[in-house]
C-alpha cells in the first residue's frame, strides 16, 4: 500500500536548521518501515541517512522517533501504521545528520554504572552454579540491546542530561540481581546519587518505548528498594 514518509532532514554541511521532506513509498504486507527507508535511499534520494543493520529488532541501530514515539524502524510493520508516517531522530540526543544521533552520551551513562560482573572469589573449575530461579531474576534485564529508545523517551532525561537514564539503570539492575555478582554495594552507590534512580518518577514512557518488552521501571524501583535495604543495614 502507498505510504507518505514525512522525514525530518538535517545535513550538517548545508543546513543550519532541520527541515521536513515528504517521500511516497510503496510497501507490501509484512514489510517494515525500515524497508521503506532503504527503498527511498536506494532508489529516490541517496542522501537520506539513518542507521540500520540486523533489520529484525536485535541490534538496536534503527531506533528513531516514529509518529511521536521512540521505536525501532525495523520492528514496526507498515500495516500497523497510518498512511502518513513521521520520522524524526531519537529525542534528547544531539543530531548528527537526518535520523542519526550522537550515541556517545548514552554509552557513557552505561559505562558509568560498573556494567560488568564483579566477583573476585577464586574461580571454580567448572561454571559457577546458578539455579533456574536465580537466573529467572535477570531474564528480563539481559535482553536489553542498548537501543536507547527508553532513555530517549524519558521526560526526566529530556530535562536533566545528567540523569543516568533508564537504560543504564536496567544495566545496573541486571548485575545487582545476578546471584553471581558481588559488586552490589559499590554499584548501588553509583546509581543512588542525586542524578540516579531517585530521579525516576514512575512515568513508564520507557516501558512503552522498549522494543524488547523489558519492564524497565520495575528494575529502577528494585534499585531504589535495594539501595534502602542494603543502605539501612549500614554495611558500607
Amino acid at each position: 500500500m502507498d505510504k507518505t514518509f514525512r522525514i525530518k532532514r538535517f545535513a550538517p554541511e548545508k543546513d543550519n536548521a532541520s527541515r521536513w521532506e515528504d517521500f511516497s513509498v510503496e510497501l507490501g504486507p509484512h514489510e517494515r518501515l525500515l524497508d521503506g527507508l532503504v527503498r527511498i535511499k536506494e532508489f529516490t534520494d541517496g542522501s537520506l541517512t539513518f542507521r540500520r543493520s540486523c533489520a529484525h529488532g536485535m541490534c538496536g541501530s534503527c531506533a528513531m522517533k516514529i509518529n511521536g514515539r521512540s521505536r525501532l524502524a525495523c520492528q514496526t510493520l507498515a500495516d500497523d501504521m497510518p498512511e502518513l508516517v513521521i520520522f524524526e531522530p531519537l529525542p534528547a540526543f544531539p543530531v548528527i545528520k537526518d535520523l542519526v544521533v550522537d550515541m556517545e552520551p548514552f554509552f557513557e551513562k552505561i559505562r558509568s554504572v560498573m556494567p560488568y560482573l564483579v566477583n573476585d572469589e577464586p574461580l571454580p573449575g567448572r561454571e559457577r552454579p546458578q539455579s533456574p530461579e536465580e537466573m529467572e531474576k535477570i531474564l528480563d534485564s539481559i535482553r536489553c540491546i542498548l537501543c536507547a529508545c527508553c532513555t530517549s523517551s524519558c521526560p526526566v532525561y529530556w530535562g536533566d542530561k545528567q540523569y543516568l537514564g533508564p537504560a543504564a539503570l536496567v544495566k545496573a539492575a541486571r548485575f545487582v540481581l545476578d546471584s553471581r555478582d558481588r559488586g552490589g554495594k559499590a554499584r548501588l552507590d553509583l546509581v543512588s546519587g542525586a542524578h540516579g534512580a531517585a530521579r525516576c518518577h514512575s512515568i513508564y514512557n520507557c516501558v512503552e518505548a522498549c522494543p524488547r518488552d523489558i519492564d524497565v521501571t520495575r528494575h529502577i524501583a528494585i534499585l531504589k528498594r535495594q539501595t534502602l535495604k542494603r543502605g539501612l543495614r549500614g554495611a558500607r
Binding site: V156, G159, D160, Q162, Y163, D189, S192, G193, A194, H195, G196, A198, R199, K224, T227, L228, R230, G231, L232
Partner: protein
C-alpha cells in the same frame, strides 16, 4: 548509604506522614464540626498536647517534602553551578523560616492558652453560640 538516597527515603517517609496528616488536618479544620475553624474552637482543640505533637511532626514533614520536591525540580532543570547553589541556599533558608514561623505559631497558641487576655470581645460580643475560651479545668490539663 548516599546522602541523596537518604533524602529520597525521607521524602517518601514524609509523604506517608503527610497523607495521614492531611486527612486529620483537613477534617479537624474544615469538616470535623460546624465553624471548626473558629478561633475559640481551634484554641480548644489545640489545648490538648496531642495536637502539639501532631502539628510539630506535620510541620516538619510538609516543609521537608515541599523543599525536597522543589529541590528535585531545580536539580533536574538547572545545571550544576552558581544558580543551582543559590536555589539550594534559598530553599534551606525559606524552609528554616517556615519551620520557625510554624513553631512560633504553635508556641503562640500555648501562650494564649496559658494566660488568656481580657474576655475575648469577639466571642462574647458576637454572642456566638460557639464555645468560649476553654474553662480553667481545660487549662489545668495544659499546665
Amino acid at each position: 548509604m548516599k546522602k541523596a538516597a537518604f533524602g529520597w527515603l525521607l521524602s517518601r517517609a514524609s509523604a506517608v506522614v503527610l497523607v495521614a496528616g492531611l486527612a486529620v488536618h483537613f477534617s479537624a479544620n474544615h469538616f470535623g464540626r460546624p465553624n471548626a475553624s473558629e478561633h475559640g474552637i481551634v484554641m480548644m482543640r489545640l489545648a490538648h498536647p496531642g495536637w502539639m505533637a501532631f502539628y510539630a511532626v506535620f510541620l516538619l514533614a510538609i516543609i521537608y517534602h515541599a523543599a525536597y520536591g522543589l529541590w528535585g525540580i531545580a536539580l533536574e532543570y538547572l545545571k550544576k553551578g552558581r544558580v543551582l547553589s543559590a536555589v539550594k541556599s534559598a530553599l534551606v533558608i525559606l524552609s528554616a523560616l517556615l519551620v520557625i514561623a510554624g513553631l512560633w505559631i504553635l508556641s503562640d497558641t500555648q501562650m494564649l492558652l496559658a494566660n488568656p487576655p481580657a474576655p475575648c470581645y469577639k466571642c462574647h460580643s458576637a454572642g456566638s453560640t460557639a464555645g468560649t475560651i476553654p474553662s480553667g479545668r481545660a487549662l489545668r490539663i495544659f499546665q
